[in-house]
């Protein structure tokens, strides 16, 4: 029975990992916690919903197109909103991201209303493996999330873009005098963050009903995951997401499910007290 909870937690962690990576990448490059990622997930889910339900595309194609479309929308949001405040302090940008979040959420509410909707997908019988009940959606979630993570890892470790992203996160002034144009890299960072959150929104929409508050269900857990792994560290974000997913899920063995997000709050509180740099983060001293 515990194994079933661990598996369910693993899959939840997979969904969390994508916005956690997006959060940590944006934080690393732009030095602010983007509060809007929840609404970005919601927007991604709605775009896929329209493509899937209204245009009759398969969910796979809908998800792929929603990822591309929202990646472009994320760049537009950056250019129209965040770029105007580029060198402001992190609190200003955090508050700005809250504004973006409310705007995206209310656009969804204005167009689609508050009613819960769902993708047009066939219901399939769960599979049983080693005593575990495994849903089709869970398999799809694990495959998509793992593929996305592998792609991000490849980009960060083995491409010029990834080197530039890590360089800017490390030392933006030095990156500038090495010829790296920060605005171009920021643009690509939003493409990746937008794509990841939209994909996560589709995966979340397969797991639960789609409504304008969809992304809100993931905000606390995603922040907990990113902080647990060390903000700015994408590998840490994945480790943190899996840990938070599994701990939240298994906690329902002992506490009512409605309270499981309290576990994320507890994780954040304990970490900030005991290891503020996160599990895989590096402590820094401000001179």
């Amino acid at each position: 029975m515990i194994a079933q909870y661990v598996w369910n937690g693993f899959v939840s962690g997979m969904i969390l990992a994508l916005p956690a990576i997006a959060l940590t990448l944006v934080y690393g490059i732009l030095k602010f916690p983007n509060f809007a990622f929840g609404a970005m997930m919601t927007a991604g889910a709605y775009i896929a919903l329209v493509l899937n339900v209204n245009f009759g595309l398969s969910l796979l194609w809908s998800a792929a197109l929603a990822t591309i479309i929202f990646a472009m929308i994320a760049v537009v949001i950056d250019q129209t909103v965040f770029r105007q405040l580029r060198d402001r302090d992190s609190i200003t940008l955090l508050v700005c991201s809250m504004g973006v979040s409310f705007v995206l959420e209310n656009i969804a509410r204005f167009i689609f209303g508050n009613a819960a909707r769902s993708f047009d997908i066939a219901i399939a019988r769960p599979k049983y493996l080693l005593g575990l009940k495994i849903n089709n959606e869970q398999i799809i979630t694990a495959i998509v999330a793992l593929s996305a993570m592998a792609a991000i890892y490849f980009i960060l470790r083995h491409t010029a873009l990834g080197r530039a992203m890590r360089a800017i996160a490390d030392n933006p002034s030095l990156a500038a005098v090495r010829g790296v144009r920060r605005e171009n890299i920021i643009c690509w960072t939003w493409v990746i963050a937008g794509g990841l959150t939209a994909t996560a929104g589709v995966l979340a929409g397969m797991d639960r009903a789609i409504d304008p508050m969809l992304g809100w269900n993931y905000i606390v857990s995603t922040f907990a995951a990113a902080i647990l792994g060390g903000l700015g560290n994408p590998v840490g974000a994945v480790v943190g997401a899996l840990a938070v997913g599994i701990v939240e899920e298994t906690s329902t063995l002992f506490i009512p499910p409605n309270y499981r997000q309290a576990i994320s709050f507890l994780v954040i509180a304990l970490l900030l007290l005991m290891r503020p740099q996160g599990l895989l983060g590096v402590a820094t001293i401000k001179k």
Binding site: A160, A164, R166, A167, S173, L174, A176, V177, G179, V180
Partner: protein, 239 residues
Amino acid sequence: MSAGDFILQTRDVAAGYGGGDIISNISVDVEDGKIFTVIGPNGSGKSTFIKVLAGLLRPRVGGITIGDEQIAKLSAPERVAKGVAYVPQEYNVFANLTINENLRLSTEFLKRNRQATDEQRSRVLEMFPEVGSRLTLKAGYLSGGQRQMLAFACAMMAAPVVLLLDEPSAGLAPKFVSEIFDRIKAVNQTGLTVVMIEQNVKEALRIADNVMVLVNGSPRLFVPAAEVGSHDLHKLFLG
């Protein structure tokens, strides 16, 4: 001497942070292939001046030219593309990237004509053998002197026209200081123009060709390095 002999020139440059100017009325002519050194007391504006040359700080007024090209309004990455290489005083390598990644990043965002050829890379690694022997090591694990060497190597990868050095000996163990200046001289002898600001006046003068003394943000003296001894630097520094 004709204008064509100068690779880098500034005219009436003024710059600063916030309200006031830190440096003002700086006009310099840097000869091609020479070492131009800026000395001065703490807080005289040396670092501000070199940041203006590197493009990290835009001048409020004044002009900067490389060859015949005006670069005052260009950003730091655009100046790199024009052949300006800058080695900051500290945090001069990407600690989270390997030595190889640091070297690759130095040119891969430049236009094709400035990207490091295999030949250029070999030449740089030959010039800095301690860098080439551990390419997969993260730069954060290097000592201060080794980081400085890596920073020089990165700057050299794009075959720059002018190398800007911000206090290359700062924070180094005394036994490395002479070695660093010897390396700078060796790099200069390949024909590369060097503009250096430095607190270690004795070592800086050992390799410099021309010197500017900067005090309170304004030039006080321009003189060939060999003639600095005939001036009372203490008096100049104290105004």
